[in-house]
C-alpha cells in the first residue's frame, strides 16, 4: 500500500525536514503555486472524496466550498489538534512523526481558501508534539514555504501555534474559536456557521490534523490516486487507526480506509493479548457505540460503520476482552463526559451526572428494572442539548442497551456485577 501519512509504519521515528524534502515534500506546494488556481485545489479535494478525519466525516472539499468568496476582510484556517476524545492518539503520533505534512497541508489549504493567517490549536499534554511542529514551521519559513511571496508567488501565509490548557469541549469547532479568542470556551450557536462567521467574526474553516495532512498527496497525485488507496470501491484514501486496550500490540497505523475491523486487530495488532478473547470495542473514540464479534467483518469506513449502528469517529479503537464489565466501561465513558461538560446548557450539565448516577447504581448492584427505561429515555432526550457533546456521551449508553441489555439486567436481578468488579 502507498502510505501518505506514515513514511514508516509503524511510525517509530521522526521525519526530518531534509528527508521530507528529498522524498517529494513541498512538491505539491510548488505544483499548486506554479500551475493551479485556488479553485483547482479545492476541486481536487472535492473529487478526492476526502472526509474529515476529526470524527464527523464531513466531506472536506464541500466544507471549504461554504466559505463565501466575496466577503471583505481576512479569512482564517484553524487546525483542530485538540485531540481529547478518549481512546484517540493518532494526531499526536502524526505530529511527532511528520509535522511537515501538516505544514504543507495547511499551506495548500490556505492557498485554496485565500487564507493568510492560520492557527494550530494544540491540546495540553502535546507539548512535545508542539515543539516538533514549531521547529517544522521555522524550517519551512527558512526554506521559503511560509511567510511572504511563497515560492516566488504572491501567496503569503503565517502559521501560529496555540497551546491550550485542557478541556475536551475546546475540540468543538465553535468552542475552539472562543478558546482561541481568549473567551470562555462554551460552544456558539449555529447558524451562523464558521464558514461564514467564525474566528473574530470572519469566515473560518476548521479541519483536523489528519485531514490537512492528506492534502499534499491529493494535490501531488490527483484525486483518482487518492480514492484508489481505500480498501473498498466506495472509500477514499487511508486512515490512521490508533488501537488501545486488550490487544497484544496497541499501536497507531496507517491502513486503507475500509479495512475490516477484525483485520486491524488480528493482522496488525497481533490479536488479543495472551489469555484474552474479544468481547467488544469502541471503533472511533469515546462517543461511538460499541461493536461486537458480529461486527468483525465491518469495513472501517464512515458509511459501513454507521450502518452497523456506530460511527467511525476518530479511528480510535479501544478493545475490551471477556473480563470487561460493559456497564463499568460505559460508566467510565459517561463519567468523562459528565466531567467535561462545559455546563452551558441544562440537558448536558444536569443530564449527564444523572445518567452517571444511574449507571453507578446499576454497577453497584443497586439498580432497578425501571433504570433501563430511564436510560433509554435519556438516550433520546439528550439529543436536545446545545452541542454534540451530550448526544456523543449517550453513544456508548445506547450501544450498551442495544448490545448488552442482558448484562445490564444481570446486574439488576443479581444485585451485583456478574463479572465481580464491585
Amino acid at each position: 500500500m502507498d502510505a501518505i501519512l506514515f513514511k514508516y509504519n509503524p511510525p517509530d521515528r521522526a521525519v526530518t525536514f531534509d528527508e521530507y524534502l528529498a522524498d517529494g515534500g513541498f512538491q505539491a506546494m510548488k505544483k499548486a503555486l506554479a500551475g493551479m488556481s485556488p479553485n483547482d485545489v479545492q476541486q481536487a479535494v472535492i473529487d478526492s472524496g476526502l472526509r474529515g478525519r476529526g470524527g464527523a466525516g464531513f466531506p472536506t472539499g464541500r466544507k471549504w466550498s461554504f466559505v463565501p468568496r466575496n466577503l471583505p476582510g481576512p479569512r482564517y484556517l484553524i487546525c483542530n489538534s485538540d485531540e481529547m476524545e478518549p481512546g484517540t492518539y493518532k494526531d499526536r503520533v502524526l505530529l511527532e512523526h511528520n509535522p511537515h505534512l501538516l505544514v504543507e497541508g495547511m499551506a495548500l489549504t490556505s492557498f485554496a481558501l485565500g487564507v493568510e493567517r492560520a492557527f494550530i490549536f494544540i491540546r495540553r499534554g502535546y507539548e512535545q508534539a508542539a515543539l516538533k511542529l514549531r521547529s517544522a514551521i521555522a524550517e519551512a519559513h527558512k526554506a521559503g514555504f511560509l511567510g511572504s511571496a511563497i515560492c516566488g508567488s504572491g501567496f503569503c501565509l503565517e502559521l501560529d501555534v496555540h497551546l491550550s490548557a485542557g478541556r475536551y469541549i475546546c475540540g468543538e469547532e465553535t468552542a475552539l474559536m472562543n478558546a482561541l479568542e481568549g473567551i470562555r470556551a462554551n460552544p456558539r450557536v449555529k447558524p451562523p456557521f464558521p464558514a461564514v462567521k467564525g474566528l473574530w467574526g470572519q469566515p473560518t474553516v476548521v479541519n483536523n490534523v489528519e485531514t490537512l495532512a492528506n492534502i499534499p498527496a491529493i494535490v501531488a497525485n490527483g484525486p483518482a490516486w487518492f480514492k484508489a488507496l481505500a480498501a473498498t470501491p466506495e472509500g477514499s484514501g487511508t486512515k490512521l487507526f490508533c488501537v488501545s486496550g486488550h490487544v497484544r500490540d496497541p499501536i497507531c497505523l496507517e491502513l486503507p480506509i475500509g479495512i475490516p475491523l477484525g483485520e486491524i486487530i488480528d493482522t496488525h495488532c497481533g490479536g488479543m493479548r495472551p489469555g484474552s478473547s474479544f468481547k467488544a470495542c469502541i471503533p472511533g473514540g469515546a462517543s461511538t457505540p460499541y461493536l461486537t464479534k458480529e461486527h468483525w467483518a465491518v469495513a472501517m469506513d464512515f458509511d459501513p460503520v454507521a450502518k452497523a449502528g456506530s460511527r467511525l469517529g476518530t479511528g480510535g479503537v479501544v478493545v475490551f476482552d471477556q473480563t470487561t464489565c460493559m456497564v463499568a466501561a460505559t460508566l467510565n465513558l459517561v463519567r468523562f463526559f459528565a466531567r467535561e461538560s462545559c455546563g452551558w446548557c441544562t440537558p448536558c450539565r444536569e443530564g449527564l451526572p444523572f445518567v452517571q448516577h444511574i449507571l453507578e447504581r446499576i454497577e453497584a448492584g443497586r439498580g432497578e428494572a425501571s433504570d433501563i427505561d430511564i436510560l433509554k429515555e435519556h438516550v433520546q432526550k439528550l439529543n436536545y442539548a446545545f452541542c454534540a457533546l451530550a448526544p456523543g456521551a449517550m453513544g456508548p449508553v445506547e450501544g450498551l442497551l442495544r448490545l448488552f441489555e442482558d448484562e445490564v439486567r444481570e446486574h439488576i436481578t443479581g444485585g451485583k456485577c456478574p463479572l465481580g468488579k464491585h
Partner: protein
Amino acid sequence: MAHAITPREAAVDVMKGLQRQYGWLTDEAVAEAALLLGLSPLQVEELATFYEMIYRRPVGRVVVHVCDSISCWAMGSETLMRHLEQRLGIAAGATTADNAVTLLPCCCLGNCGNGPALMIGDRLFGPVSPEQAAAIIADHLEAR
C-alpha cells in the same frame, strides 16, 4: 503577547506563564494577568476556572496527572491510582503534607496505546506499573 491579534488571545499563555512562576495561579497572579491582558480579574477568573490544567489552588512541587479515561481504565489505571494514593498517603486530588506531590486524576492524555499513562509537567509516561510510577515521581522530586 506581541504576536497576538487581540491581547486576550494570549490569556492561556499568560496564565500558564504565571503558573510556572508561582506554582499555581494565585489571586495576585489573576490580578497580574488581568493587568497584562487588559481584562478584569473576573474575566480572567472565568477563564482560569474553565481549564483543567490551570490550578487555582496551591499544588505540590510535582503535580502528577493520572489518566482515568477509557483506554487507561481498561489497562488498570484504577489500580495504579490506588497504589499511588497508598504510597503517598493521600487521596486523589490532595497534596502531601510536605508540599512535595499533588496527585490528580485527569482526562485522556492521548497516550492510549501506552496505558495506564500519566503526565508530569510537559511529559507523558506509559505504560507505567505502580513501581515505575513511584520511581518517576521520585526522579522529578530529585530534579526540583
